[in-house]
């Protein structure tokens, strides 16, 4: 008999619905109002960051911004379930999660501002560089977890990807390696319905993406990706299982990308605004606020404090990105190898000569 316990539920786990009403679950507990209020604080900051970055692109301060607007509950949950020593392997759309992990907003935006590739030290925050190629980071997450097991360390790794990345070969190889070696990895797929313009139906014919897990011999679960309470419960359970030696699992969050892929994209070419409006009604902030208000866990004073804090983060981001600090051309050569090569030294000297001549106003 096949092990049916690996299969996800037919309906995504939901603890708080779009109207803010709680639906208690016999497997997944709803976190306390205090925990959820803290989560709401993070959601407010996350939304503000998304809004701010959107503006910064329009002002030419960011080269590009793949927004996680609408997916903030996933961003917050992915980071909330981690212990300090755990690692997060994010994608380019997970800048908010990177900041929630402690990376300074300006450093998290280095890639998208265009000053460098990764603007933070991964070891300092236990956050891998944001991956721009799809699904490749899932294998890095798997290797990282494998090393932790070989060294006898209790690290759990949460690896993020979108539904589009589940079509990539590296997704398959990562899931398979993790299952074969029984590694402490939680694969967290934010299914936001679109890979740039291509809809979910063109990525997969599976009943759900979470159903893919059973084929690898690991459990899968699907969850309402706009319900922070459900995400904390499902991801928390997957992380606990991984830490206890129970191996990897796959969690699919059903959410929606409220903005276009990036500022360079025109989403009116491939989706109806009516569909977008349907998802406005399922907003992760609105429902949690409504729930917490109903529980008397969130008052005007607290809300004002959260808003003020979010404004402060946005102001920090604005100030940092509005500062015109010229990137250092020497960096182009400095980090390619641990020890530079004569060829790179020669090329840097040549560029320096160009820069000096141009500073003197002479043409080479």
């Amino acid at each position: 008999m096949p092990d049916r316990t690996l299969l996800p539920r037919n309906v995504p786990v939901q603890l708080i619905d779009a109207a803010g009403t709680e639906h208690p679950d016999e497997v997944y507990p709803t976190a306390s109002p205090a925990v959820l209020t803290e989560g709401y604080r993070s959601l407010v900051i996350s939304r503000r960051v998304n809004d701010q970055c959107y503006s910064l692109v329009r002002q030419g301060r960011l080269a590009v911004y793949p927004s996680s607007q609408g997916q903030e509950a996933c961003q917050v949950a992915a980071v909330s379930v981690l212990d300090d020593g755990d690692w997060l392997f994010p994608t380019y759309r997970d800048s908010v999660a990177v900041m929630l992990r402690g990376v300074a907003p300006a450093d998290a935006m280095t890639l998208l501002k265009g000053d460098w590739h990764c603007g933070y030290n991964p070891h300092e925050f236990r956050v891998a560089p944001q991956s721009t190629p799809l699904a490749t980071q899932l294998l890095h997450a798997v290797g990282f977890a494998h090393a932790a097991v070989l060294k006898g360390e209790p690290t759990v790794v949460v690896a993020l990807c979108g539904e589009g990345a589940t079509s990539e070969g590296d997704f398959h190889e990562a899931m398979n390696f993790a299952a074969v070696f029984h590694l402490p990895v939680v694969f967290f797929v934010q299914n936001n319905r679109f890979a740039i313009s291509v809809p979910l139906s063109r990525q997969s014919a599976a009943e759900s993406l979470a159903h893919k897990a059973v084929g690898y011999g690991m459990p899968g679960e699907q969850v309402d990706g706009n319900d922070l309470a459900a995400l904390l419960a499902v991801l928390g359970s997957a992380v606990d299982r991984a830490r206890a030696g129970g191996g990897p699992s796959l969690v699919e969050a059903h959410t929606y990308r409220m903005q276009a892929h990036t500022n360079a994209d025109d989403d009116t070419r491939y989706r109806d605004s009516a569909e977008v409006q349907e998802w406005v009604a399922r907003d992760p902030l609105v429902r949690l606020r409504s729930y917490l208000r109903g529980k008397d866990a969130l008052d005007d004073t607290t809300e004002a404090a959260f808003a003020a804090e979010a404004d402060e983060v946005a102001a920090t981001l604005r100030t940092a990105l509005n500062a015109d600090i010229a990137p250092d051309a020497a960096e182009l050569f400095r980090h390619v190898y641990a020890t530079s090569t004569p060829q790179l030294e020669e090329q840097w000297a040549s560029l320096q000569g160009e820069l000096e001549r141009s500073a003197e106003g002479t043409t080479p």
Binding site: L138, L139, G143, A147, K151, E173, A174, P342
Partner: protein, 338 residues
């Protein structure tokens, strides 16, 4: 054949006669023993000891945690090596054959090569990717590619190709200790060629070596083409022409200093490589010599390479492979005054 090597081992303590395959096996074992962070993995490398037996006995000696088989998935192998290296290990992975390394190409080019640069040096990846490469073994399609150009073209990679057991041993040990990723190309047709190996001898990644002195022209070779160059030099000597031979050993970063000095001393150069010649390692060597040694050259730099065709089937590969006659023909065309 004469081998003039500064570090030529003398028979004595610590010196053994080994095949290149045995020398590589010995290097892996010695590094596994020396450093707990070293892990070896790939396809069929455990109980079987690798299809070429390079990892023979390592799982038995060091255990499943240090040397293990993986699913057959090259991107998975290299991608997980990236994560392992990020988490403090020093992975040495085996790609079973040159052409079977291609599924890992995205991981190699987009991550292995770039992680140190991407993170401003915060995450260096001490990974060795061992790839048996090149032909001459009667292998069928996809088993005989000379794929070095793909790797040397990628900034951030260090690419090594030894031609004898001593260099194979010393360079592999050095590669495993190296702070950056190394593509380690093993000329599979030389796996069974024997030579003396001094396990106390060290090698420096990035240094080419003059392996035969000569005064009339310089032959520049690496991996499988080094024995051909040496044989051609022997044959030329019998006809009164003195050919110098340089073994590049490291393809990238390139040892301009050694190659420049060698070519300037003779004024003529032939580059020998098995890969198709168009936009190849041999092209790069020829271009560098032309740019850097033009005033010393008596003739254009010649290349003797494979044809620009997919690698030949076993019964046709002798037509494809550079050989002594082609090398000597190229040498004859170097605008001699006599």
């Amino acid at each position: 054949m004469t081998m003039l090597r500064e570090d030529q081992p003398q028979v004595g303590a610590g010196v053994e006669t080994l095949s290149m395959a045995a020398a590589l096996n010995r290097a892996l074992a010695d590094e596994l023993a020396a450093d707990d962070r070293v892990v070896v993995f790939g396809e069929d490398i455990g109980a079987l000891g690798g299809v070429f037996r390079i990892t023979d006995g390592l799982t038995a000696r060091f255990g499943e945690k240090r040397c293990f088989d993986t699913p057959i998935a090259e991107a998975g192998i290299v991608g997980s090596a990236v994560g392992m290296a990020m988490n403090g290990l020093r992975p040495v992975v085996e790609m079973q054959f040159d052409a079977f390394a291609y599924p890992a190409f995205e991981q190699v080019v987009s991550h292995v090569a770039k992680m140190g640069n991407r993170t401003r040096g915060a995450v260096r990846l001490p990974i060795v990717i061992r790839i048996p490469y090149a032909g001459g073994i009667g292998g069928v399609e996809h088993h005989c590619d000379s794929s070095e150009a793909y790797y040397v073209h990628t900034p951030g990679l260090t690419v090594v190709a030894p031609s004898n057991p001593q260099d194979a041993y010393s360079l592999l040990r050095e590669a495993i200790r190296f702070p950056d990723p190394v593509i380690f190309l093993e000329p599979k047709k030389l796996y069974w060629a024997k030579g003396s190996v001094d396990v106390s001898s060290t090698a420096t990644i990035g240094s080419a070596q003059v392996v035969r002195e000569g005064t009339d022209a310089t032959l520049i070779a690496y991996g499988t083409s080094v024995p051909i160059a040496l044989e051609a030099a022997d044959a030329a000597a019998a006809e009164g022409r003195s050919l110098q031979v340089v073994d590049l050993r490291t393809l990238s970063p390139f040892d301009d200093a050694t190659v420049d000095a060698a070519v300037r001393s003779t004024g003529r150069a032939v580059v020998i490589a098995e890969a198709p010649g168009f936009a190849s390692m041999a092209s790069e060597v020829a271009a560098r010599i032309s740019e850097r040694c033009f005033s010393w050259l008596e003739a254009p730099v010649r290349r003797v390479t494979g044809f620009d065709i997919p690698y030949a089937p076993p019964k046709l590969e002798h037509f494809y492979l550079p050989d002594v006659d082609r090398v000597l023909d190229a040498v004859d065309s170097l605008y001699w005054e006599d």
